[in-house]
């Protein structure tokens, strides 16, 4: 007899099926798609997006938004490089010549601090998270521009920037079939394992689902909701800064618009992966599937040499189709739960 539990499992992991379908489609479209070089490119592109989506997933599950992460990512990258390179033209640094490891610690703590401040504004200031993070998005971006006066801060050919280069660009080892795996991909993989454990198997994650599902109930049961919200934003800021570290190593020269408009892709990745914007629903694994799907489509369209004018149209449509499928997925799931409970 057909098992409903198996059906539920399939519905929950639909994103992976879609990923396989898309993958096969591109294999037939381009002979270069299934090359080690391309697979490695897809994974590397997914790495930075992945850490941001992981942070956003925590925030979304707790029933909040964080629009500010793209700016935090940019500022963290900028400050990290600025602290180690010389001042003056061509590099435009601070001339502080800080130890690069220390500068990374500074940049990561700054990300966490930004998140904490946002969390405080929301919880102590009693303001809506959407507005606070929107304001933060603008303020942090503005700070980046004011700080550099538009000049790119460059760590190019600077041995101090090697730590950034290591995380952003270095190849860790070669896997047959997948090509060279970069340190960034490994790091993102590790981030996902840790985040999955926190979300699924730790008290902290359970409480986030409870807050996202029924905030009043969570509060009544003794969960310190406001404290959890501050921690979630801190986590999101920290992961954004980690993404900044990766990106700084990839682009080396930091423009003041680094990461701009990235937030749309971050939300798309999370939502395609089945993380609900209403809070309380979604998993880290699903989010990872969303990230991989987006970067696969991105690379695939590139290889198919689709005109840049149409790429955005296709990306937008993909998000819509994914949402449509997800909505049906939720409906199907509820229907099958009703079917199971009626059988009893």
């Amino acid at each position: 007899m057909f098992s409903y539990n198996r059906l539920l499992f399939l519905i929950d992991h639909l994103i992976w099926g879609i990923l396989v379908l898309v993958f096969v489609f591109f294999i037939f479209q381009s002979e270069y798609f299934l090359t080690e070089r391309n697979i490695s490119n897809i994974l590397t592109a997914a790495a930075v997006l992945g850490v941001l989506v992981a942070g956003q997933t925590f925030v979304l599950i707790s029933g909040n938004f964080d629009l500010s992460t793209e700016s935090t990512l940019g500022l963290a990258a900028l400050v990290g490089i600025w602290l180690i390179v010389p001042a003056g033209p061509t590099t435009f640094g601070g001339g502080i010549y800080m130890n690069p490891y220390l500068s990374i610690i500074c940049s990561l703590s700054m990300g966490a601090l930004i998140g904490y401040i946002i969390g405080c504004l929301i919880t102590y200031g009693n303001m809506h998270n959407f507005i606070v993070t929107l304001a933060a998005l603008l303020v942090i971006r503005g700070l980046m521009m004011a700080f550099t006066e538009g000049a790119p801060v460059s760590g190019f050919n600077n041995p101090s920037a090697d730590v950034f280069y290591w995380l952003g660009h270095e190849k860790a080892f070669k896997v047959p079939g997948l090509g060279k795996i970069s340190v960034a991909v490994l790091a993102t993989g590790l981030v996902y394992i840790v985040c999955h454990l926190i979300l699924k198997h730790h008290k902290f994650g359970r409480e986030l689902y409870a807050i996202g599902g029924n905030r009043d109930a969570a509060e009544a049961l003794g969960i310190n909701v406001n404290r959890r919200i501050r921690q979630v934003y801190m986590l999101s800021g920290l992961l954004a800064a980690l993404g900044g570290w990766m990106l700084a190593g990839r682009v080396v020269s930091i423009q003041s618009n680094l990461g701009e408009t990235f937030i749309f892709t971050v939300f798309a990745g999370a939502v395609i992966g089945g993380v609900s914007l209403q809070g309380g629903r979604g998993t880290m694994l699903g989010a990872l599937g969303g990230v991989l799907l987006l970067s696969t489509i991105d690379r695939g369209l590139n290889l198919m040499q689709v005109s840049v004018f149409w790429i955005k149209v296709i990306q937008g449509s993909v998000i819509l189709v994914a949402m449509l499928i997800d909505a049906q997925r939720v409906r199907l799931k509820e229907l099958s739960i009703i079917a199971t409970s009626e059988k009893k």
Partner: protein
């Protein structure tokens, strides 16, 4: 035996006297209906028992021990549980997760404490079996019937070994069907030997489940008698002040 004794409890908010020397006992396994008009002090009294407020004057004894609560968690730890109108369930979580929320069993892996799902589901299954409910621990609450949701709330009070359950206006803003379910929940609690205090101004609900009725008027206790010796008419008169005391 009385599980909870209130002796001369008074509470004032600035110049406003919300409670004026209320003395009340709650016996083991008893359902007490606390009645009164808006502003009579019912909710204030419940909130003092639940640890939300501290009394301005008077003493509370729980199982013959003098107690003082600084926060709701203190009361919960003693076994005084508040059941909310919506039963405080998270629709997006499974039955087991709801029961164990904030009290999940844990296992240690190195320096990390992870949730022991196996133990959690087994214990939840056991609690449902004791309640003779067919609710499955891994079922999501969103799709549950009213009866099953109640079983989850009941299992939660059973898990915490609650001795006293407080319900503040449990039937005020819900459908007729849900009212019947809440009343059934109260009977179930009583069957488990748990004492219940229910606040409501819906007369039929209170008379349907209460053993004893206490009436507050302007912060003073004006009646405290067995439900079978009273009547809705008498209680209405007591609430409005048509009868002084009874």
């Amino acid at each position: 035996m009385a599980i909870l004794n209130l002796k001369n409890i008074s509470k004032n908010f600035g110049a406003i006297v919300a409670l004026d020397g209320v003395s009340l006992d709650l016996k083991e396994g008893e359902v007490l209906g606390l009645m009164g008009d808006n502003g009579a002090g019912k909710s204030t009294l419940i909130k003092i028992i639940a640890g939300n407020f501290k009394q301005s004057d008077g003493e509370m004894f729980f199982e013959d021990q003098n107690i003082e609560f600084n926060k709701p968690m203190d009361a919960r730890n003693k076994g005084i549980e508040v059941v909310y109108q919506d039963l405080a369930l998270c629709d997006n979580l499974t039955a087991a997760s709801n029961i164990f929320l904030t009290r999940e069993p844990k296992k240690k892996i190195g320096p990390f404490e992870l949730i022991d799902y196996k133990k959690m589901f087994e214990k939840a299954k056991q609690l449902f079996a004791e309640l003779k409910s067919e609710t499955l621990p891994n079922e999501t609450v969103r799709m549950m019937s009213g009866g099953q949701r109640q079983a989850v709330a009941l299992a939660r009070t059973k898990l915490s070994k609650a001795k006293v359950v407080l319900l503040d206006e449990p039937t005020a803003a819900i459908s007729v069907r849900q009212v019947a379910e809440v009343l059934e929940l109260i009977r179930q609690l009583k069957k488990q030997g748990i004492s219940v205090v229910i606040i409501s101004h819906r007369m039929p609900d209170v008379f349907a489940v209460s053993d004893r009725i206490a009436v507050l008027r302007r912060g003073k206790l004006v009646a405290n008698k067995l439900a079978k010796n009273s009547s809705p008419e008498e209680v209405t008169a007591l609430i409005t002040g048509a009868i002084e005391t009874a």
